[in-house]
Every structure is written in C-alpha cells, then in structure tokens.
Symmetry: D2
Subunit: 395 residues, 4 copies
C-alpha cells in the first residue's frame, strides 16, 4: 500500500495487543508480520498463552515488555484500558470458540478488535458478538484476508462497475489435502483444535475454509445468498466434523453458484479459486497465483491481468506496493487488511468516517460466515435439503 | 494407435457408411477424419442429407460413388444389407432424435453401428435402442470420444489398479461460452437444433455436454451413480432448454461428486475438466490440454505425466501414435474410438471376443447418459430434489 | 482444413508413393497419417525398405499392392513414371543422406516431391538438389511441419501486417532430453542414424532440431539471417555430433536473436518455443501447447489467443478443422503441409499458380536450413566466431 | 524465516540507517519493508535525500527522529559512529555511482553495510570498494535479493548435493518491457538514472538486470564463469546504454550457458527465469511464480515442487514463513537477505562466525557482477568477441 509518506510518525503506528499467538500457534505470527509490513502497528502487549509463564516467554521472544505480558485476557483488557498508553487495538488469534468472549472484553472497553475468522464457533455466539460490536464505539475487523489481495479488489471493482454485465454464475472452491488422514489423532496441534467441534464449531472444512470461499465469493460478486443445499462428509474415519463440503447456492436475483471446500483432496495446498461469469464476460482467480486475474470479455480473447501491470485499476494499485512482475503474496494481502484497519482506526479516532475505499470485512460478514456454516450443517443433516439463508442471518 | 503393420490390407479397412454429416454439419466431418487417421475404414456409402440431391452433392465432395448416395436411411440400410460388398458399419451423425430410428434399421440388418452421443433424445427411445442393440448381432459403439484420450486411459488404469486408493471425490465440469447469447434466434444451425427439445431432448447443456462429463467421470472413476440433485437454468431469455447445470452426485460406496455443465460461461471454449481424489492421491486432467495428467500421490510432490512420456502406462502408449511432446488432440482421441471399434468388428466377424483392452463406450453407457439427463431434468423440476439414478436406468 | 466439399472425388486424391518408412521407422508413419487426414492422398506405391522382401512386407501392412512395392527407389521412380496411373507425388522419409539421391530420381521424371527435413546431409548435396528442383517441372515440398500449425500462421500474419511494429528480437529454442545418455550405443535405431555424421550430416542437434527452430523463426518473423556465432557441444562422451547448440544471430535490418537447440536437457520432450518482440508488441508460442498464442500489445494486458477462438485470423481458421477448445496437434499441423501441397499440385497440373495463401516450405528453405547447420558447425570450429550466412547460401 | 522465538528482544532489533530512499525513490521502500518483516531492524537514522530539508521530510514520513535525518552521508556516518546508540548498520539505496563513496564512509567506521546492486557503476570503484570492505571489520551485504527466494535455496541445495549430476547447461534470462520506448526523455526518474551511464554505469540492461541473472545463475549452479561473448544493443533511438543483451557463457569445467537480458521485450514484467540441466536431471524456476520449482529427474515424470510443500528441503523451509499454497513473494525473499544479514551481524558482534546456512551475497559477488557487465560491454565493443572473465576479476 502506498502508505509511507502520508502521515507523521506519531500518528502512524497504532499500539497493538494480541490474544493468542504464543509458541506453536500458526496464525498469530501471520498477524504480526501483517501488522508490521506497512509500519502502522507496534505490538506492545499480549495474552499470548493461557498461563502467565508461557505468555511472558512469548513476550520475550517478541520484544514485548514483560509487564505487558498477561496470562489472562480479562486482566489484559482491564489493565490496558486503564493505562495511559494502553493498546488501541487488539488482535484475536485464538481458536474460534474464544473469539466471542475475548472480543467482548475489549469491545466493551472501546478497544478496537481485529479478529481472525470465522467469527465464532456457534451462531449464538455470533449473534451476541454482533450485538457487542454494535454496542461498542470500537471498530470490529474480521481478517478474511483473501479480500485484501489486489486482484480481488480489481475483480470486485470490475463487477461493481458492470464490466461483466449481469452476474449469472459463481463457482468457488477451496481445496486442501492436509487432513486426508487422521492427523488429529497424532497430536498435531492445528489439526487437533480445527477438528474439535467444541473449539472450532460444528463445521470442519466448511468453517475453516468454506467460510473463506463464501466470503470471497460474496465480496467479489456483491451477490446475496438466498438458499443453499449442502452435502457434507467426514471421509476420514473417526473425524468429528466435515472434511468435505459440496454446496449449491441460489443468490437473490437469480444467479447460481457452486461451492466446494475440502481438506481431503490430495495435491491441493490452499487451492482457493473463484470464477464468476456474467452476461458480458468472465473472471477467474486463484489464490496460489494471486498476482494474476483472467478476464474474458464475451467474444474477445482472454486477457491475463497482472497486479500493478497494464490494465490495473486504481483499487488494484492502491493495494500494491511494488511493480508488476514482482509478486506480492499472502502476507501482503493480509497486511492490506491491517493497513486498512489502521486507516479506519485513525479516522474513527479523529471523528471522521473511514475513507470510502477502505473495505475490510466486518461484523456483518462474520455473522454471514457463521450463518453459512450453520446452514450447511443443517442442510446436510436433513439429507442435503435446501434451506433459506435468511433463517440463519436473523439476529 | 500402433495399428499399422499388424494386419493385411484386405482385413484392415472396414466398409463404412454414414447417416447425416452433409454440408453445414459439424460432427460428421469429425467422424470421417477419425475414421481415416488409422486407415481402418473406407467411406463407401451415405445418406448424408435428407434429400437425394443434397446427399449426392455431399457424396461427390467426399469421393463416395453416386449410386451409394441415398436420400433415405431406410433405403440405404435395405440396399447396403443386400449388396455383396455393402457397408459393414454405419456412422450415425444426425441430430439426437434420429439416433434411435436410424440405428434400429441398421442393427436389425446386422450392420455395426457407430453412433454419436447422447444415445437418444428421450429415455423411451434409449430403452428401445438398448433392446434393439441387444437383440442384434451387431456391435453398438457410442462416440463418447473423450474416453479415447490416452491420458484418460492412463487415469482409468491408475485408479483401477488402486494407485489412488479408495476414491472419495469426483469433481467434473464442462464449460463453454458459445450460447451466452441467444444464438438460436440468429439461424445458426448448430445452436438451432441443440436448443430445440424436439431434436436435442429435454436437456440442453446437460444433454450436449453434461453427458460427456458424466460419462467421463464414470469411465475413469469406475464409480456407479446412486443419487443426484440438479439445479438447472436457462439463463438466456427465451431459451427452451437448460444452458447451465449444477449437479451434486452420490456414488455407490460413499464417494461424492459435483458436476457443472454450462454453455454460458464466457472464456470457456470446451473446458472439460476432471479431478478425482482418493485416500492415496489425486488426478487432474483438462481436455483442452489433453496430453498432460497431474498425479499427486498423497504427501509427495505433484507429477506432470505426459502422453507417451516418462511414466506412461501401457494403456496410454497403446492409444498414442507419436512421441511425448508432440501433442495429439481431439481428432486422435476420436480416432482411438474408431480404431478400437474396428478391432472389435474384425474380432466379432472372426467369431472372437474383442481384445480385453478395447473399451469404447457402448449401449449401457448411452442408456446411463440419457438416464442422467432425465434425472437431472426431473430433479430440477422438483426444486432440485434428490432423485435415485436407478429409477432412470430401469429398462 | 476446410477442404471437404470443395472438389470432386476424382481430383481430390493424389496418388502417392513413399521412399523409406518401413517397419521400425518413425517419421514415415507420421507422413502417412498426415496424408490421410484431409483425404487428399492415396498411398499406392513404395520403396519402404532397402530390400524387396522388407519393402513388400511393409506394403502388405499398409494396403499397398505387392507389385508396387519396390526394393529400390530408382526402379520405383522409373516404373512409376511409366505407369498409366503411376504416382503423382512421392514422400521421402529416409535418413538425411538419402534425400538428395532419391529426390533427384523423382524430380527428373516430373514426379512431385514431399521431402522430410533437413534438406540433405551436406551443403554440397543441398546445392545439387536445389538445382535439380529448379530444373524440374515438379514441385518440391519440405516438411518443416511446424509451419503448418494454425497459430504459427496467425503469428506470421500478425507480424507481416505490422501488429508488432518493427521486429527487434527473436528468441527461439528447441530442447529435448532423449539423447542425455549415450543411446546410440544401445542400438536404438533412431539414435543411431541421427548421431551418425555420415547419415545425418555434420550437425547433430543443430541438424535434427536446430533447423526446425531456425526455419520457424524465419518463417514467422520474415527476417533474413546475416551473421551467426555458434558454440556447439557434444556433451555425451563418445558422441560424434553436437547435442547442444548455443547460437547468436544478427538479422538484416538490425534485429537480433538467440537460438538454443539441445538434446540433453532433462525434462524437455519437444520444447520448441518461439518468442518475437517488436516495437509495438510481443508474441510467444510453444509447440507442446500449440493451440495457444500469447499476444502482448505494448502497454496493454497480454491476450491468450486460441486456435479458432475469438481473435483468430483468416490464416488461422483456414488451417483449422474443429472449433476452439478442441485441440488439434502435431499430426494436424503436419497434415496442413500435405494438404497445401495437394492444392499446389492440383493447381500445377491445371497450369495455374498455387493459391496465394499456400505457403509450405520449399527448396529455398531447405537450402537455408543446411546453410544454417553448416554455418553453425564452421563457426563453432573457429571457436564460436561470427560467420556470414550469405557465404553458405551461395549456390 | 522461523526467526521469532529464537532471541531476546534486546538482541533482535538492529539499529539501521539508510542513505537514499527518499520520496519518489523505489528501492528504498522495498528495503524498509524487507527490514521490518521479521522484526530484526529498527530504522533510526537516514540521509534520505540530497538536502537536509528533503531528508527531514522523509524522516518524518518514516518515523525517524528529526535530529537523525541528515542531508549528507558523510555527516551521518561521522555522527552516527560517535553516538552511544548510533546505527549498527546502514542500507545504501542510492543510484549505483554513489554506492562506493557512501559505503566507504560507513565501512571505515565499522558500520555494517547492506548495499543495493550492482556493487558500483565502474570496475575501478568495485575494486576500491572490495578493498575497503576487506579492510573493514564490518560486514558487507549485497542485496541480490533473488537469492533469498526459498525455492532458489532449494535449487542450490539440490545441485550442491548432486541431484542433477554434473551440470552441463545454464539458461538464464531476465526480460522486461518498461523501456520499450524512450521513457527517459519523459522525465521519469527511474528511467532517467538507470539509462544514464554516469549514474548507472556502462551497462544498461546488463547492469540493471543482467547482473541479477548472472548472480542468480552463479549462486544456484555453483559454476565459475570462464569466458563470455556478448552482443549488446540499444534498440531505442537515442538511448545511451544497452537495453538488450545476448550473452554466451563458458564455465570452468565445460558447462555452457546463455544469458538474455532485455528491457524492450513487450509482455515481460520481471521475467527472470533460470533453467539448469545436468547429467541426471533438470530444474526450472521463474521469479514471477517463485513458489514453484520444476524438477525433472532424467527418465522420470517432472515434479512440481512447492515452497514448504511435500519435497521441500531444509533450506527451503528455513527461508519460509507460512505453509505451502500460501504464496510468499518478492518482499519475503528480500526480507530473507535482511534477516540473514541480521544473524550475521549479531554473530559478528558476539565474535562468532555466522551460521553456516547464512549465504547472502557479499563483496565478491558484487565484484563479479561489475566484472560481468564490464566484460559484456567490452566483448560487444569488439564485435561480440570472446573475452576472459578472469581479466575483469583481477583486483
């Protein structure tokens, strides 16, 4: 992001705390790098682990002062809210079931929240969190990070401006292979909590990656889901949550879609792919090669748009740091969410609205994600019957 | 196919007739080239068009003697059956609704039939044709030509021999864009009959290309369909048949699948893609790049297998003519079906069974294809409800 | 090629003979398929092998009458020239050193020659053959088959019409790996003669595939070579000819180029790639994926042109048989040369010039190819010094 | 890099200064992001521009205290060397001709230098800088950043461990299109200095990107250049330095190579590609898709290795931060150089050798780069004659 050179040092860096993300965690490190890339955050406090000792060890690793390492997020929220230079924002990178209780504590103290996805592990929690976010003066940012990729912003732009005509079809998928065998029984920590319905939620692949796919499809297409029909499976013996989901979608206005999420598809690492077709053209994008976007205007040759290359729109350029042909990746896309959040936080603190081009996912997207997972699980339990999405979006 | 050099001239070339395939037709020319590539057929008769004059004009174009150009397929069947050197086989390349009446006339006279897909335009006709084929001493060959691609044969082999373990997932799609607008109203001949339920059948994209996708998925995976749920659309205003199909599939034994067929997806020419995942690995293949097959053994790097390259199996080599890196295409794959048919015909004439490696699609596959289309249409009419495939396969 | 339907049967099929191409040969079978695809030839005679017995056995395999199977090409030329329905054209598919003596016999009897590349094994022979061809009333066709690919014709068209502006750069390469080890010592027949300077010529990889690369670059760019500097190697111990060539090229008018040919590059099957850059745009094409052509207009997104797809020029469509997305391959490209030859032969027989769009390579291209190989060998022997191409093109 | 959690906060962050990189610069911002990603540096001082005012404005943008913003690098070096918490290292991101004078000032005061490439604009300066670096107790790091890509480290590892056998061929290229027209005359700042021999050096494309290609080929292959033959062009009218270079290379031990660098090849953004072939296999890598590495073991199917995926070596994993399928890009590769530099600096400060796996490019690589450019320019001036590389490497 062309962020440097636009603000004074004093106002640029936001004091950031973190809950979760201690040793052995995965996504916490990603959030930290993302927060650093554009130099808009400074990590100054954290409840990195569930005990004060472990939390302090992580703090030492991370250059956080020992007196700002907490073993308890409630204590952290209380004390930081009182400190003169307490944190302005908190990143929540715990397993899903902790998102709601943790976020609540910070939101009610006016501390801005940057929370990993999915929003919560249950729809009940999601609704409570939505209320808490709305009641708070603080911002709520949900890191559906794929929305931060420059070519995704360009795709959204092109569709919003009518370049594809009326959208008819949305084909989205997110395939992985890391759970093709019963990894959770080996003690692998990530597999453990992500396949545990108590910590992850009722959806397995649907919650872990299906929500990303659904969010991305919605973000880019601008379409609202009306009904879905989901056939979920737990192919691996003994698995307690789905590891594959086949979903048909009907959108308001008549567009149709397919969503496939799988964690048992050998050869797929993080194969999130989105294809959208309208009356005037098609777009295709793949997360593993994120600097490219195929555009097929109906009746003309396909074009390969590149990040910051010829044909890049303003939205794409705004989310880019370096010239086309020098790939930016997952961390830069994630950083874009963080940097947009920083802009929004500074604007909020100044009593202004966020710039119009800031469009990180928020509480409504989070609720939609949990509604989607819940709808999929219920549809599947009914034999893959069609269910109305609105039923799950009700507050 | 390594066919040359294996037989005498006399026994190599089969006397072939054709019904359909006159001027302006598309698939007839494809069948003729396919029949010539391995020099196993000689086109000697035809009812190429619906009038004797047009048929004779086509015959002249094609080097067929005028006295063997017929304006009527019944007359052709009768006379050729009586001729001393009458045709041994007939290729049927008419619109779908004519497949049954034409095939019947030749089958009952013991003339082998090579018929384009889908089998028929209605399930009733399909059942009748199945009976006619079974009652005849002649062979019935259905040109689901994609099964003739060498890498498809290799994929089938690899799965049959257990290299992928137990199959869990079948993701198949066939996307086109040529019907994104209302081409049928412009008088374009191909669009005309292919969107006319009287000539094409109740399924539009499902019948025209969905059957190919379904056939290919079945051929390669070896799985039997148990249930399906189909959401079909006619997106183009005024269109009388579906131009997009979203289908969920459940196979016997628990595997699941998704099938997408579309003729309104801009940027897709003939994007037939098949991906199959099992407990031990995955395979991916795309018709537009047919000389490649991705193989991902679980936990190992993906390999890009090439036609006749390192790693080619006997089945792949058998269907190839030239070295790896020199692409063979659609016509060679089609020719493989023709050449296998020639082998089977010569074997049948000699009172022997066809060689075990011969595996062109036949009447049962044709019936399954029409059952699939019919099931999709009925499921969709019920609001995309699940229907049992066996209901449609009943004779 | 849209050939069917344009002529009467009598005039369509040309009576073809073949010299070489018996059992165990490779390229003979390719020529035969290529001749059949558009039904413009009928193989009726041949000196397939060096003994009458072997030749007759091949004839039997191929459906050629025994009395037209010859053990000697001189006898064949003499007799066929006298027969009432003797061959009209002969395909020469022998090792390189035989091209000249065989072609001479047929040319002097007015029989059209379709000859495999390179033209000859020595520059002396090439010059003699050029004279023989010019003295003959018969046509001479050289099967630099890659010029028959539809996208290559489109590329040539685009450059000729100025779409790329002034050409600055030509990067061409043809990499293989099949000679990475000393295959010729194992008795493999193809490796044997292709690495034998007596039969193949002084150039190994330069003659076998470098000539293809050079021819293709010249054909598409329209540029004339002025000087070259070649560094050749025989990496495999004991090899008698080069198996790798690195060549710098300077063209008339100031364009520059690089040519790489190799038979010792593991992972490359037939990786012939051509990239051409001008002041207004660039083109990229790869033989292993021949249905695609990348076009990069300067300052605009790259377009992926497809055979017979949106953006296909008339030249591309003319060389295509089936719709875009249904791949045509090596054999169809080869067939295009044969079919163009048929058109030219029929025109010549009718006393007319060949249609202007017919552009198969001929004797001049063959001479240029041998000049190129000779120049490379001499440059390399001088320590990779620059040599003038015109020196080798002198008659 | 798996850096977090390995050291205390106090020792992790290195106090960094910067010379160059003010507003409108390009590479300075890249260095800053690279320094932040793994949190091993803190930017605390800089002579960002050539006047104190501009430098202070940049400092304010960047959060650097005003009293440490200098308008003069000599003043900066002197004062920072005396400060109690003065900078430990300096990043030099000026145009090439300033690298030597700036580096000298810091090196002689024992401040570690991280310098952009190429080392200097002249061979004389390069030799002087080499002496200065050797005389200093400080480290000299040259940001040939492409050596920091994880798959490049894996490629180097695989070759060093003999997986490719004896290397025969190195094909490397770096193509761009941004100078296809006379951009320098438009006042564009980057084009201005990069095509000015006074500031950039005698080589244009050879210096700007050819050095990257040469460095990468050397780094991965481990081969030493013996001789080269270069044909350079300035295709754009009025351009004062080469914008295209065609180079043949001979390595010690008999391997051969081709290097192509161009800034006038439309459709190429930063198309740096490396292909290396040995007796036992081949490797192919492209900078624009850096998370992939093709490995072709001779006689086996090609494998597509992915960053941190199945088949990743320890060297690859060490340079990676996130799981396979989540792309890392240019900035992460650049950060790897910075982080390795940090490890080496801390080791040096502790009186220990750097860890053996640290392998950022240094002064010798820089000298080789300038020798390469100088050799190319001289070879080309002699009509593209062969020149000995050792002549230019002499101190």
């Amino acid at each position: 992001m062309a962020i440097e050179g636009t603000s004074t040092a004093a106002s640029r860096r936001i004091r950031l705390g973190m809950v979760g993300g201690g040793r052995d965690a995965f996504i916490g490190g990603v959030h930290r790098i993302a927060s650093r890339i554009d130099d808009r955050y400074e990590l100054v406090a954290g409840a990195f682990s569930s005990t004060p000792e472990k939390s302090k060890a992580s703090a030492a690793d991370l250059g956080v002062a020992p007196d700002r390492a907490y073993g308890d997020y409630v204590e952290m929220a209380k004390r930081e809210a009182r400190l003169k230079n307490g944190i302005e924002a908190v990143a929540i990178v715990t397993p899903n079931h902790m998102h709601y209780p943790v976020a609540r504590e910070f939101l009610k103290r006016g501390i801005h929240v940057i929370c990993d996805k999915p929003l919560t592990s249950t729809l009940t929690d999601a609704r409570k969190l939505a209320k808490a976010a709305e009641a708070s003066g603080a911002l709520f940012v949900l890191t559906h990070n794929y929305t931060g990729y420059p070519m995704i912003r360009q795709a959204r732009d092109m569709i919003a401006s009518g370049e594809l005509g009326t959208i008819r079809l949305v084909q989205v998928e997110y395939a992985q292979d890391w759970l093709s065998e019963n990894l959770e029984e080996t003690g692998q920590k990530q597999a453990g909590w992500r396949t545990d319905p108590e910590r992850s939620g009722l959806g397995g692949s649907t919650g872990d990656i299906g929500t990303h796919a659904f969010n991305l499809a919605s973000f880019v297409s601008g379409l609202k889901l009306e009904e879905l029909c989901a056939d979920l499976d737990a192919f691996v013996e003994g698995r307690r949550v789905d590891d594959n989901g086949h979903v048909l979608m009907r959108f308001e206005g008549g567009a149709k879609g397919m969503l496939w999420c799988s964690q048992v598809a050998p050869g797929n690492e993080n194969a999130l792919k989105l294809r959208i077709y309208g009356t005037k053209g098609g777009l295709e994008w793949a997360q593993e090669d994120p600097n490219y976007l195929w555009h097929a205007p109906l009746g003309q040759p396909k074009r390969l748009l590149t990040r910051n290359g010829a044909g890049a729109t303003a939205a794409c350029q705004r989310m880019s740091r370096i010239p086309g042909g020098h790939p930016e990746g997952y961390l830069e896309g994630f950083a874009n969410i963080y940097t947009e959040a920083a802009e929004a936080i500074r604007a909020r603190q100044a009593g202004k609205p966020a710039p119009s081009e800031v469009m990180f996912p928020g509480i409504e997207d989070g609720l939609a994600g949990v509604a989607f997972v819940t709808g999929c699980v219920e549809s599947s339990r009914k034999g893959a019957a069609w269910v109305k999405f609105a039923n799950y979006m009700r507050r």
